[in-house]
């Protein structure tokens, strides 16, 4: 998956460059997140600034990564377009991980966290 990665302290900010996270993209999104976790990154911000569309397959890939983290880390999301925020509320993803307006806010929050909520 095309993406940018940025480390802010111990927090990894991962920014997908694809505008659609759908069934065709979900396997590579999942693989990218799992690789990041397996490389030892335990605090991850998924910044969706350029993402315009996510479907259930994209959500499933993100949930798969959250499960892979288990109780050993934190994941947050940031920069959700309004329709994607609605989708997160509809599917109750906003109860699974914290949603922030900016990646900077999300990284600051995760930097101060100690592990799983």
């Amino acid at each position: 998956m095309r993406r940018d990665e940025e480390m802010v302290g111990e927090v990894m900010i991962l920014r997908p460059r694809d505008r659609r996270l759908d069934a065709a993209m979900a396997p590579s999104l999942r693989a990218c997140l799992i690789e990041t976790i397996d490389a030892g990154r335990r605090k991850i911000v998924l910044d969706l600034a350029v993402v315009e569309f996510i479907d259930s397959s994209g959500l499933g890939a993100i949930l798969s990564a959250v499960k892979h983290l288990g109780g050993n880390g934190e994941m947050a999301v940031s920069n959700l377009a309004e329709p994607i925020q609605s989708l997160f509320r509809l599917t109750r993803m906003d109860r699974v991980f914290a949603v922030y307006t900016t990646a900077t806010e999300a990284a600051a929050a995760l930097a101060g966290s100690e592990g799983s909520a």
């Binding site: 759908d22 069934a23 479907d55 983290l69 329709p83 609605s86 109750r92 699974v96 799983s116």
Partner: protein
């Protein structure tokens, strides 16, 4: 608002789901739909096409999924049809059950099954018909058009 009809056939490959989503969005671009409503319709169609490819055709390419959209006044009907394995109609009885999870239990978070819940929540009407080897998910959305 005048009536309109659009038919689109996509191959049973997941890469084609994007094409279906783009087509749905451009179909109604000139109607100046509310952004949230346009997203809901696109999302429901994408979920339905994905389900047809993954489940009706088992992810096997070489088949077709048909999208037939009809606009009547301010009501949009979209039918997504395949000729694969029919869905168990009971799947539509409690589509929102997948959302009843405990967010604190990460090990039990669902990774699948959100598609029908999203379709049900996004659209005003959902019906499933299977007859003569053809399966059709019929979706209806009432469109609040921007003035």
């Amino acid at each position: 608002m005048t009536s309109r009809e659009v038919r689109l056939i996509v191959p049973s490959r997941l890469e084609a789901v994007r094409e279906a989503g783009n087509a749905v969005r451009t179909m109604w671009a000139d109607l100046r739909l509310d952004e949230a409503v346009a997203y809901e319709v696109e999302l429901a169609v994408v979920e339905a096409v994905t389900n047809a490819i993954k489940h009706a055709y088992g992810g096997v390419s070489g088949h077709e999924v048909e999208i037939h959209a009809t606009l009547h006044g301010e009501c949009l009907d979209v039918e997504i049809s395949d000729t694969g394995i029919a869905m168990d109609p009971r799947c539509l009885e409690q589509p929102l059950a997948v959302l009843d999870f405990d967010p604190r239990r990460r090990d039990r978070l669902p990774e699948h099954g959100f598609g029908l819940a999203i379709i049900r929540a996004a659209m005003d009407g959902v019906e499933y018909l299977s007859a003569g080897g053809r399966n059709t998910l019929r979706l209806r959305k009432r469109l609040p058009v921007k003035s």
